[in-house]
């Protein structure tokens, strides 16, 4: 076609992901995102405190259905996220290379690791209960069983450096047990997170199970930490110690489970262990008499 040169470029608008839809920030604000070399990449939505509240509402709505699914089914869905990521790996490799300023080979390794991590956590969905739950030998004629249960809506403040592997590593372990998530991406490197949200939207993950906000922690994190309908908060992405302390204080108001901010960003290529899987679980114990 001879008119190619005149074609108007169709640029992607990077939006939030709330309740299975891709809205702009209700504030109408956006902020410029640059690559590792300082070149302008795109404008991302600047999530407001109202967006954070909307995301909590969506996560709460999704919780009973998600927690009520069989562990096997949640495993299948998390595995499906890995499948769809694999299909779009070129897009992820490019986004990671530009956002994090790493070479193509390193970006490939990061995407590999992110996909593999989803598969690993998917496998845990139907094994957690056997590992963490048990029958209790009470001194009486009772059947007594303890099982790990999801805590509910969890706010996840994703790491600032590792824009994809770090993000996947903090979201997957929280949802696989039945929690729903409001995640805040890396502030400076949000684009891989938005692409990840597009994968979630096409991976059988029910609307509202993962909600993704881009923007600055200062605006949204205090709202999530003090929100009375949020049951847990992961402070992994908080680098300012004063902010971390104020978030912990706010989280204490309704006894949220808190994963404290690490001193420095974890090594995401290391064996993740079980701590992120078990962080947002709580034990339920059921008693029933035994008799004839």
């Amino acid at each position: 076609m001879s008119g190619n040169a005149e074609r108007i470029v169709v640029r992607k608008t990077y939006k939030l992901y709330i309740g299975g839809a891709f809205p702009r920030s209700e504030s109408g604000h956006s902020y410029p995102v640059h690559d590792a070399a300082g070149q302008f990449l795109a404008n991302a939505s600047l999530a407001s405190r109202k967006d954070a509240r909307d995301a909590v509402v969506a996560a709460r709505k999704a919780f009973p259905g998600w927690a009520g699914r069989s562990a096997y089914n949640r495993a299948q869905i998390v595995y499906r996220i890995a499948e769809v990521m694999e299909d779009r790996r070129a897009q992820f490799e490019e986004a990671v290379a530009r956002s994090e300023g790493v070479k193509a080979s390193a970006a490939t390794a990061i995407v590999d690791a992110a996909i593999d991590r989803l598969v690993w956590y998917a496998g845990w969905a139907d094994k957690l209960t056997q590992v963490l739950g048990n029958a209790n030998p009470v001194a009486g004629p009772f059947f007594n069983l303890s099982t790990p249960e999801p805590v509910g809506v969890v706010a996840v403040l994703a790491p600032q450096s590792s824009s994809l592997l770090g993000l996947v590593s903090v979201i997957a372990p929280v949802i696989v047990s039945g929690n729903t998530v409001v995640a805040v991406s890396s502030a400076a490197r949000p684009l891989p997170a938005v692409t990840f949200a597009e994968v979630l939207a096409t991976s059988d993950v029910p609307a509202g199970v993962v909600n993704l906000l881009t923007g600055h922690l200062d605006a949204v994190a205090p709202r999530l930490a003090s929100h009375l309908d949020v049951n847990g908060i992961d402070l992994t992405g908080v680098e300012d110690p004063a902010l971390a302390i104020s978030l912990e204080v706010a989280a204490a108001e309704n006894l949220k489970l808190v994963r404290r901010a690490p001193g420095s960003e974890p090594d995401w290529s290391a064996d993740p262990g079980l701590s992120r899987l078990t962080q947002f679980l709580q034990t339920k114990t059921v008693w029933h008499p035994i008799g004839i």
Binding site: V286, W287, P289
Partner: protein
């Protein structure tokens, strides 16, 4: 209480409550001991008064309370709705708020509609219904066809605003391990 049997259950409950002995907590025959402080007693009295003011029916058996100390007679409130403060706040006293339901789903919804979740109790004759209710109830301990059972091998502790961690059982040991 299921609406269709509420009257019958309430009558039996009142009969049983009339036989409870309130008194010296060190006496093994005592069913209900003292309230732990003047402050807590004031809170129970205040919330009970609010229950009455908000229109719930108040009933206590004729029971003698010791002359000195902090005491509160066992009390039932009937006609309580989810909007009543006695259904939303922790009274932490010998006070029972009775709400009625028609279906198991309604019972679960009402039971879970609070910021607390220390324990829950369910009585029903159908096994599959008990297991379903136990799954749905958002509480750290669910007593099914029993109540107020404790054992050092069984973890005790709440969901939501009813506390962190567990005491007892394998899960209770976690806080003591590095």
């Amino acid at each position: 209480m299921q609406e269709s049997v509420a009257e019958e259950v309430l009558a039996k409950l009142k009969r049983r409550m009339s036989t409870l002995r309130v008194g010296d907590p060190l006496d093994k025959n005592t069913d209900i001991g003292a309230i732990n402080s003047a402050e807590q007693l004031a809170k129970i009295r205040s919330l009970s008064q609010i229950g009455e003011d908000e229109g719930a029916g108040r009933w206590s058996p004729a029971c003698e309370l010791p002359a000195t100390g902090f005491w509160f007679a066992p009390t039932i409130f009937t006609g309580v709705t989810q909007a009543h403060r006695i259904a939303r706040e922790e009274i932490f006293g010998p006070v029972l708020s009775v709400l009625t339901f028609r279906t198991p789903s309604e019972a679960v919804e009402k039971a879970n509609n609070t910021p607390f979740g220390l324990s829950a109790g369910v009585w029903t004759e159908k096994g599959s219904r008990i297991l379903w209710m136990a799954n749905q109830l958002r509480a750290g301990v669910v007593w099914a066809n029993t109540f107020n059972q404790f054992d050092p091998t069984s973890p005790f502790g709440g969901f939501k605003e009813s506390g962190y961690g567990r005491e007892g059982g394998r899960q209770g040991l976690e806080a003591y391990l590095a």
